[in-house]
């Protein structure tokens, strides 16, 4: 006998017992049955339909009609409780939703970064979350020597723990002045912190670089981050910003290699998160070469305009539905 047959037979028994002899025992059994029905996802309509069928099999008197409803009521009380619980859960859900909104706006305030002014360098930056909390993080830091530290990170993992990881990055950068010129040291130290403090399936990809406007060198290291691009204005070519390194938070002994670039006048450094290269269009993924095409289209504009235009184009391509958080940063040496 499958569960539905059991239900039918049980309900019939309870009804017939109660119609014969209106005792408490039958009412109690109806209550018990109600809990089982809800557990097995039997909808109320089915019970009412069954009730009707059983009544039509019996002699319909005013008394039997009224008595039968005592049983149906007992069963329906269970469904009523379920309904009220559902309403209460919905209210909770709405409350949580506004908490997240508050957290997202706190995130923006506490972790916000301003684009600094560096002589001889134009900077453009855009970061757009796919949902309320931004899993991408970027931070600019300018020191007394006019050197620019720039970090771009993607925190894998959601919500509040992810946002807290970003605070770790920001404070590591802000509070390790002696390391700011040493991208390897910054990543190694962050890696140790993330590995200790973060849940095993959470990890962070990050690229950290420092631009020195005196010798025009860009020194950087990467921890599993989507490679950026370097544009050489002399050759009018783009190359990948190679950088191998393990994600932050996997192995506390990881060492990070440093790479150095000479930045000539007109050259550009392009950093991005994988939300840019993971753009999915009707034709499939946007390939890195296509992205280069978009940059080239806008190459003579100020970096802020370039990033804004690329975002608009890619947003349209994805039909205004961002799959992943989108961050794009462009540095252009102007003199």
């Amino acid at each position: 006998m499958d569960f539905r047959d059991t239900i039918e037979s049980k309900y019939r028994d309870i009804m017939n017992n109660y119609l014969n002899d209106q005792n408490e025992q039958s009412l109690y059994q109806a209550q018990k049955l109600s809990r089982k029905l809800i557990e097995h996802h039997i909808v109320p309509e089915e019970i009412i339909s069954l009730h009707k069928t059983i009544m039509l099999e019996n002699e319909l008197t005013r008394k039997s009609f009224s008595d039968s409803f005592d049983i149906l009521l007992e069963v329906m009380i269970g469904y009523g409780l379920s309904y009220r619980e559902h309403q209460s859960l919905r209210t909770e859900q709405l409350a949580l939703k506004s908490e997240i909104e508050v957290a997202a706006s706190m995130q923006q305030t506490l972790l916000g970064t301003t684009v600094p002014k560096i002589d001889g360098l134009d900077i453009g930056a855009i970061s757009v979350p796919a949902r309320q909390m931004n899993g991408d993080y970027h931070h600019f830091i300018k020191d007394e020597n006019q050197c620019l530290g720039i970090a771009i990170a993607d925190v894998i993992g959601k919500g509040i723990p992810a946002a807290l990881s970003m605070s770790m990055i920001k404070y590591a950068m802000d509070s390790l002045p002696e390391n700011r010129h040493n991208p390897s040291a910054i990543l190694e130290s962050l890696n140790r912190v993330v590995e200790q403090n973060v849940d095993p399936s959470m990890f962070i990809t990050m690229c950290y670089g420092v631009y020195n406007p005196w010798n025009h060198k860009f020194l950087y290291a990467s921890a599993g981050h989507e490679p950026g691009f370097f544009y050489s204005s002399e050759n009018q070519t783009f190359q990948d910003l190679d950088g191998k390194g393990l994600l932050l938070g996997i192995d506390k002994k990881t060492k990070y290699k440093e790479y150095e670039l000479n930045v000539l006048q007109g050259d550009m450094i392009i950093l991005l998160s994988d939300g840019v290269t993971e753009c999915r269009t009707k034709e499939g993924f946007i390939e890195r070469e296509n992205l280069i095409g978009y940059i080239e289209k806008n190459i003579h504009l100020h970096p802020q305009e370039i990033v804004a235009n690329i975002y608009k184009d890619l947003e349209r391509l994805q039909e205004f539905e961002l799959r992943d958080d989108f961050t794009l940063i462009i540095l252009k040496r102007t003199e």
């Binding site: 993992g157 095993p200 399936s201 393990l246 994600l247 996997i250 192995d251």
Partner: protein
């Protein structure tokens, strides 16, 4: 946004075949199916990703979690059948150097 998971247990080996996409929506399902096996001691987990058309960083997170758990229980994680795109993801993140990731599917038992 769909995934299908088929599991075969052979002694202390778990063979898993995943079909579809591993993203923020389907990754929890993959984790729920595979994680219980990673908690046993000395399990060799072989995951065939030949028919996985897409995986994002949430998917990666599931494998990182599995890898760490298996390692701590003296087990082993082997990923096979990765497409070029997936292989690239593991290479960029440096995971290809620490995890056993190959593009050949292991021969049948």
């Amino acid at each position: 946004m769909n995934i299908s998971i088929s599991l075969t247990e052979i002694g202390s080996e778990l063979h898993a075949k995943l079909t579809g996409e591993i993203d923020a929506y389907t990754a929890p399902q993959v984790k729920e199916s595979l994680h219980p096996y990673a908690e046993k001691a000395g399990v060799k987990m072989i995951v065939d990703l030949t028919d996985v058309s897409y995986m994002d960083s949430t998917g990666l997170g599931v494998f990182v979690g599995l890898f760490k758990k298996l390692k701590s229980e003296n087990g082993n994680l082997i990923l096979t059948g990765l497409s070029d795109r997936l292989k690239r993801l593991f290479e960029i993140t440096g995971l290809a150097d620490v995890m056993n990731v190959n593009t050949e599917v292991e021969g049948g038992v």
